[in-house]
């Protein structure tokens, strides 16, 4: 209602600015969080004796300045887009699916198993992708069904499934899928299923189009079909959705399936694309953390497929540039990037960041007051 007042009483140009700002409002929050993250990263770097400016400039150059940097950023971004979508689709449906790690692992196992038979290229690609999608979906349905039939909180069940997948994979990689020539790995994905490089000398392959394409498909489903509409409605207001004749159970199930499919494709991105060995290691290291990083990407991308594309590129750039930063004039370990990511995500948990500053002051006054009371009452107890 305040906005309506603004609309009517302000001169034209102000109205335009206001509308743009509120339209981009969510993006501004992401940018703000990113800035805070980078700032804190800089502080830590400085405290520990590194040169943040040199580090950041090397990182920026490495990430975006040239074709190879961009390509590497994109290569890292591709699987992140997909795991971000996993989290994001389910969040749109009102669910916290943090099982991407596990779904990723199971899909990875499925992908390498296409090495057991031979097919012409093209077909082999498709089959590998299909295997990945189905495996991811299957591993995602478990928690979904537990939620729908037993009311099991999906956070707990997806974590459990993650760990079960973790151990199951170690077992299978050591036995059925083991590469006879290299006991530490699985059989490799055959060359007929591997995506060829898009930019030579980098990790970027044509697989990235799968990621972008899937992302667009999800966008269309969510905003341009009745099914997607129902998912979003049920996630925002289950009562109203019920009033509108939407079956909430169906939307939940669908979102988990799509999420699993997405995670599966992410595994495919890595094993068929950016990975150097195209095989899974016994402790499936290449897949570790891709799920959780995806969540960070999703949050910074405001849970929107388009936003996720940008956010993934940003995080991909951070990581790719980070690699170069290690070798630069003032070497900073690439692990700093994850620190920055963590701060960004944490900052994003505070709602309405852009409007937060007056609110922070208000609440902080209350907080300080309470803390002081606490201190004095603790003091009183001591003196008793």
């Amino acid at each position: 209602m305040r906005e309506e007042k603004l609309e009517r009483n302000s001169p034209r140009y102000l109205r335009g600015i206001h509308r743009t700002l509120t339209g981009f409002h969510p993006a501004i929050e992401s940018v703000l969080a990113a800035i805070i993250g980078l700032l804190i990263g800089a502080v830590v770097m400085w405290l520990w004796g590194y040169d943040p400016i040199a580090a950041y400039s090397t990182m920026l150059k490495g990430a975006f300045a040239d074709k190879w940097g961009l390509a590497d950023s994109g290569a890292i971004a591709a699987p992140l887009i997909l795991t971000a979508l996993t989290f994001s689709i389910c969040l749109r449906a009102g669910m916290f699916n943090i099982g991407a790690e596990g779904q990723l692992i199971m899909a990875g196992l499925a992908v390498v198993s296409v090495g057991f038979f031979s097919l012409p290229p093209g077909l082999h690609h498709v089959v590998a992708l299909l295997f990945a999608m189905v495996a991811g979906a299957i591993w995602s349905i478990g928690p979904a069904l537990l939620k729908l039939t037993r009311g099991v909180h999906e956070v707990v069940s997806t974590i459990m499934f993650n760990w079960i997948a973790h151990f199951l994979a170690i077992y299978l990689i050591g036995t059925i899928l083991m590469n006879p020539r290299s006991a530490d790995q699985t059989i490799p994905v055959p060359s007929t299923a591997i995506f060829s490089k898009l930019v030579k000398g980098t990790d970027l392959t044509y697989a990235v189009f799968v990621a972008i394409g899937f992302s667009l498909i999800i966008y269309f489903i969510l905003w341009h079909t009745t099914i997607g509409y129902e998912v979003r409605a049920a996630g925002l207001n289950p009562s109203a959705a019920r009033y509108g004749g939407i079956k909430n159970k169906r939307t939940i199930l669908l979102s988990f399936i799509l999420g699993g499919v997405s995670a599966g494709l992410a595994a495919a991105m890595i094993l068929l694309g950016s990975s150097s060995t195209h095989a899974m290691y016994r402790l499936h290291g290449q897949l570790t953390n891709v799920g959780f990083d995806g969540m960070a990407v999703a949050m910074v991308g405001r849970n929107h497929p388009i936003g996720i594309l940008f956010s993934a590129l940003f995080f991909g750039g951070l990581n790719a540039g980070g690699r170069l930063m290690q070798l630069g004039s003032s070497p900073v370990p690439v692990q700093m990037v994850r620190l920055v990511m963590g701060v960004i995500v944490f900052t994003m948990s505070i709602p309405e960041l852009a409007r937060i500053f007056p609110a922070i002051r208000r609440y902080s006054v209350k907080l300080v007051r309470d803390l002081r009371q606490l201190g004095s009452s603790a003091g009183r107890r001591q003196s008793r």
Partner: protein, 537 residues
């Protein structure tokens, strides 16, 4: 604290009053005026009945007195000076305790633990045995008995309420406020509770009893204050008050046949005369027989209702909220499954169907809670406009693709037709004012071209213009031959719009008749639970 309390009725004469509210006004953030310059005085050693319809401001006033809400303006004074309650605890320490309509109990804790919770020292180790002892003493004194070691969520509702009362009593309050306490009690429990009130009063305490039940308020109180539309309109000693007088105060002066009577100056209602004489269609659109439905807590909310709604009429259900109207509407719109009975739309059974199936039978539902049910606030106008009808061929293309072009056009039509003020179909629904939100919902529902419109509290919380608009719309629909089931706690609205009315009280219809058959007092009495036979001539 003890020095400030008046412990005997003899001392009461020393101080004129215990608490006085002066000019208390409360305006909520969405613009609703809940209280307008309310002034009242509370004396020690008396039982006050606070009477009024829904939305009269009773709960708001008491919440302000008990520290749960700050007033927008006005003040509360005591003989010692200005009183300002910043929190419920501050009010408790002053001596005011409130027993809410929806209990403030922690379900997993036992009664003893709940009572111990509200005591002063947060970090002291509770000796539960001591607390239990104290409670047992209190139970003897007050005559309220409750099992002390069972988690309260397992207790019956009546017992839970007793825990609430004990909780407040254990804090040694001087003013006890109870919000609709008897709505969950059996007659025997009510008697016990009232006996307790008398004892407390004789001990020097004051009690405010919020209720809409006329007989009750007359049986126990010393004084009755009536609120209407946020203002106190009457303050009478119970001895001299008659039920008719109370009813009149509650619902307003007798309705003048000419519009814009003094009391209704803030409303403009369509004159009955403006409505065309429409022949009622012979077959009913909605047929309900012996419908029984349970509420979420398992109580009977709809107790064997039987009625029909015909095309070309507005069937109004009047009554104070909370008497089963919500559950009735839910039962007829697919949001609640009745336990038994018959309900059909144009002959087709609707029991057990989900909302979308019911809509397809020609039903439109304007829900009573537009934020919880009617709209998805973060969604745009366009996205809300298709809620419930998103599967229609008009809006859904091949492969389930949504035809946004058509949808946006449809929304623009709605905006024009219903004068919905917004920046466009892409505006988020939460940016609209309440009136425009409701118009969106109404427009959406009417666009279904329904045979029957179920409208629950359709003008609640709306500004005058929007409310009037929607009422006119309903009349228009009626004139066009549709059936309308109107549920409203606003008696003026029902009387002005309905062709036939039913008055709902405690899960039943007190009567079904034409509004001309009864005068306002009689209606007020019926709404308060006084059966026709009991009304004095």
């Amino acid at each position: 604290m003890t020095s400030q309390r008046q412990n005997t009725p003899a001392e009461a004469s020393k101080n004129e009053y215990f608490l006085r509210g002066e000019g208390i006004t409360k305006v909520y953030s969405d613009g609703t005026v809940a209280l307008k310059e309310a002034t009242l005085e509370i004396h020690p050693s008396e039982i006050i009945g606070l009477l009024g319809e829904n939305g009269a401001g009773k709960t708001t006033l008491t919440k302000i007195l008990s520290g749960l809400l700050p007033p927008t303006s006005g003040r509360v004074v005591s003989p010692k000076g200005l009183v300002h309650f910043s929190s419920p605890r501050a009010a408790l320490e002053f001596g005011i305790g409130m027993v809410h309509q929806h209990f403030a109990l922690v379900g997993t804790l036992t009664a003893a633990e709940n009572v111990a919770l509200s005591h002063k020292n947060p970090f002291s180790r509770i000796q539960l045995s001591k607390a239990t002892e104290r409670l047992e003493a209190l139970m003897e004194e007050s005559g309220l008995h409750v099992p002390l070691d069972v988690p309260v969520e397992k207790l019956a509702v009546g017992e839970q309420q007793r825990v609430e009362v004990l909780k407040v009593l254990s804090r040694d309050v001087d003013l006890l406020i109870l919000d609709e306490p008897t709505s969950v009690l059996t007659p025997l429990e009510v008697d016990e509770l009232f006996a307790l009130f008398k004892r407390l009063r004789n001990d020097g305490k004051s009690i405010i009893l919020i209720t809409h039940k006329l007989k009750e308020v007359q049986s126990i109180t010393d004084r009755i204050i009536v609120l209407r539309h946020g203002e106190p309109v009457g303050d009478v000693p119970t001895e001299t008050a008659t039920t008719e007088q109370l009813a009149r105060l509650m619902v307003g002066q007798a309705f003048e046949q000419e519009a814009t009577a003094v009391d209704l100056s803030d409303k403009e209602l369509p004159l009955k005369r403006e409505r065309k004489a429409v022949d009622r269609i012979a077959t009913s659109v909605l047929h309900v027989e012996d419908l029984v439905s349970k509420s979420n807590t398992g109580d009977i909310a709809v107790h064997g209702l039987t009625f029909d709604v015909f095309g070309g009429e507005i069937f109004g259900i009047a009554g104070v909220e909370g008497n089963g109207q919500t559950e009735l509407v839910e039962s007829l719109t697919g949001l609640r499954v009745p336990t038994s009975g018959v309900a059909t739309i144009n002959g087709t059974n609707i029991i057990g169907l989900d909302p979308r199936q019911i809509y397809r039978l020609g039903v439109a539902h304007i829900p009573e809670d537009r934020w919880e049910l009617g709209l998805i606030l973060p969604f745009t106008l366009a996205e809300n406009a298709i809620l419930g009808v998103h599967q229609w061929d008009e809006f859904k293309g091949p492969m389930s693709f949504l035809r946004w072009g058509k949808i946006n056009q449809h929304v623009r039509d709605l905006m024009e037709r219903f004068d919905i003020q917004a920046t466009g179909p892409g505006a988020p629904a939460k940016s609209l004012s309440g009136g425009n939100q409701q118009k969106l919902i109404v427009g959406r529902e009417l666009a279904k071209n329904p045979d029957i419109i179920v409208a629950a509290q359709p003008t609640r919380g709306l500004d005058i213009g929007s409310a009037q608009y929607i009422r006119d719309l309903l009349v228009e629909m009626r004139n066009a031959g549709r059936a309308i089931l109107l549920v409203s706690a606003d008696l003026d609205e029902i009387l002005a719009l309905a062709d036939r009315i039913a008055i709902m009280y405690e899960a039943e219809f007190m009567t079904i008749c034409s509004p001309d058959d009864l005068n306002r007092e009689q209606i007020g009495l019926l709404m308060g639970g006084v059966k026709p036979e009991e009304q004095a001539e």
